[in-house]
């Protein structure tokens, strides 16, 4: 599989639209656990990215540079909790694919592993804290494991997204230990974490994106 800066741009544009659709749902989840703004925050951030994609980044051919700008733009636009988290994800991802005009399977794997691990490093959350880490670490672990077995990115990513989804759903049943919702204690049980949900949407959208691209090509 091959993946270029143009593909990143197209993928990010799909996220821009996806976030607009999911905005209310993400806010609704955050109203139960936090301050009700997660959808708004994601929307502000991705709208800002959308503008960049159409302007400064319209002709960017370096995937790493594109990802760095995407991360910085998101951070500047939103601050908040998820600003530093997702920004770090994109910037660490960028680092992993530096100077590669075209990404191949193992580059893409490296990108997503760096993305997930970077977020964990930034936020210092553990699996079970009821955060996006509950999506991202199972996802990263699944990706690494499956890829080491099959050396096939698409196949491994597929399995990793399934693991991420399971992680996301698990946040429903656990007591929060991080972020705003941690103050709820027992009362946090029963609601799915908004950040875990947006993280899942970002990875599952990537899966759909590459699958559709493959369909088109074939």
């Amino acid at each position: 599989m091959e993946f270029t800066a143009k593909d990143f741009r197209d993928y990010f544009k799909v996220i821009v639209d996806m976030i607009e659709e999911q905005k209310d749902y993400l806010c609704e989840l955050d109203r139960k656990l936090g301050d009700g703004d997660h959808g708004v925050t994601m929307s502000i951030g991705w709208q800002a990215i959308g503008k960049k994609l159409d302007n400064e980044l319209a002709d960017e051919e370096d995937s790493a540079k594109l990802n760095i700008t995407v991360g910085k733009t998101f951070l500047s636009a939103v601050g908040s909790s998820v600003g530093p988290l997702y920004a770090t994800g994109f910037m660490r991802g960028a680092k992993a694919i530096k100077n590669k005009p075209v990404l191949h399977d193992s580059d893409l794997k490296d990108y997503w592993v760096a993305f997930g691990n970077g977020i964990q490093e930034r936020g210092q959350a553990e699996v079970g804290d009821k955060t996006m880490i509950d999506t991202l670490i199972p996802f990263v672990d699944g990706l690494e494991k499956s890829f080491s077995e099959s050396q096939n990115f698409l196949d491994a990513f597929n399995k990793a997204v399934v693991a991420g989804e399971k992680g996301m759903k698990s946040t429903k049943d656990i007591i929060s230990k991080r972020g705003r919702s941690s103050r709820l204690g027992e009362r946090s049980v029963g609601a799915q974490d908004p950040g875990a949900t947006s993280a899942y949407l970002i990875i599952s959208t990537f899966l759909e994106f590459v699958e559709q691209r493959i369909e088109k090509v074939s």
Binding site: C27, D35, G36, D37, S80, S182
Partner: protein, 334 residues
């Protein structure tokens, strides 16, 4: 939800614009970043810079507290969202007078990460020393054993007051940070919510609450509290808030406190003074001396209904900081 706004997307930009236009003698926007505001007065050379910040929607917090005797600059976030490192860094550069800068903010995941990133950049890229003090005054937000997890609410006002004064006294960075942390150590708050606020962009209430209910221990972004129950009298609410605070921090007979009865946005001053009346009774009965009182909207949550009570236990040094005059657009003390 009824708001007097234009486009919900632009509320923060338009508020900041109006604010800067209304108080040109006090405050200005930095050309580098329109979410970076600094005092328009020249501050003393060698004075430690005081930087505050956080999400919007808490006005007068936080931009209202930039001025003589309080903060030198503020980084303004989106509604209920930490500012990003950019404006924090710009303010840091603008207010550093060679003595370093102290960051004051509430203990929220977002603020911790963004202010932390900015502090790293200030150190690495700008060679500016940064000290930090987090507000963790809300006793309802975590048990005593996990005090470091508590969020900051209205007590931030006292931390700004104390820290701003210490910086004005000419303390060095270490001492300013020490005073800021002592102010936080000595400050406890707890609040009660009666009616929600509405995020401009969603138009949705920040929390659900029945017609005859109140929520005790509510966070100032509408985060759920420790207990939802039938609405109680002002006296009963004051009893509950003050007692929970006094169970958390030892304040002995003869010791002095500063008191803040803070409205969350939609609560009339009348109600706040009725609550204050009872707070004063309780403290007087215990022989705790009220050194100075503040009653009004100091740190709000848009149009949320409710009140919080804050006590700051004073020693001689904190007394002096409390007495120090202040001249900010939204708060003046002679």
């Amino acid at each position: 939800m009824k708001k007097l706004i234009n486009n919900p997307q632009n509320v923060v930009e338009e508020m900041v614009e109006g604010y800067v236009k209304a108080h040109p003698n006090h405050i200005k926007q930095l050309p580098e970043n329109d979410r970076a505001l600094v005092t328009n007065r020249t501050t003393k050379d060698g004075k430690v810079g005081v930087l505050i910040g956080g999400g919007s929607g808490h006005e007068p917090g936080f931009l209202g507290y930039v001025g003589d005797g309080m903060a030198d600059g503020v980084a303004v976030g989106n509604i209920f969202a930490s500012p990003s490192p950019d404006p924090i860094l710009e303010v840091t550069k603008a207010i550093d007078k060679g003595a370093g800068v102290v960051y004051l903010y509430g203990n929220y995941a977002g603020d911790v990460m963004n202010f932390g990133m900015a502090a790293e950049m200030a150190d690495l890229e700008e060679d500016i020393q940064v000290g930090m003090a987090l507000a963790t005054d809300d006793v309802a937000s975590a048990p005593k054993e996990e005090k470091e997890k508590r969020r900051g609410i209205a007590g931030e006002f006292f931390i700004y007051k104390a820290t701003g004064a210490a910086a004005d006294f000419g303390y060095n960075l270490a001492d300013v940070v020490r005073v800021a942390r002592k102010a936080n150590e000595n400050t406890r708050s707890m609040g009660v919510g009666l009616s929600p606020c509405y995020l401009p962009q969603t138009g949705k209430p920040s929390f659900e609450i029945g017609e005859d209910e109140m929520e005790i221990g509510l966070g100032h972004h509408g985060e759920q509290g420790i207990e939802k129950g039938p609405i109680q009298s002002a006296d009963a609410v004051a009893d509950r808030l003050v007692n929970d605070i006094l169970a958390d921090i030892e304040i002995n007979k003869g010791e002095k406190v500063a008191v803040l009865v803070n409205g969350l946005g939609a609560t009339p001053r009348m109600d706040l003074y009725i609550v204050y009346r009872r707070v004063e009774q309780i403290l007087s009965e215990l022989g705790i001396e009220i050194y100075r009182s503040y009653v009004g909207d100091y740190i709000t949550s848009l149009e949320m209904g409710g009140v919080s009570v804050t006590l700051m236990k004073l020693d001689e040094e904190l007394e002096k900081t409390i007495d120090h005059p202040v001249d900010c657009p939204m708060f003046v003390q002679k």
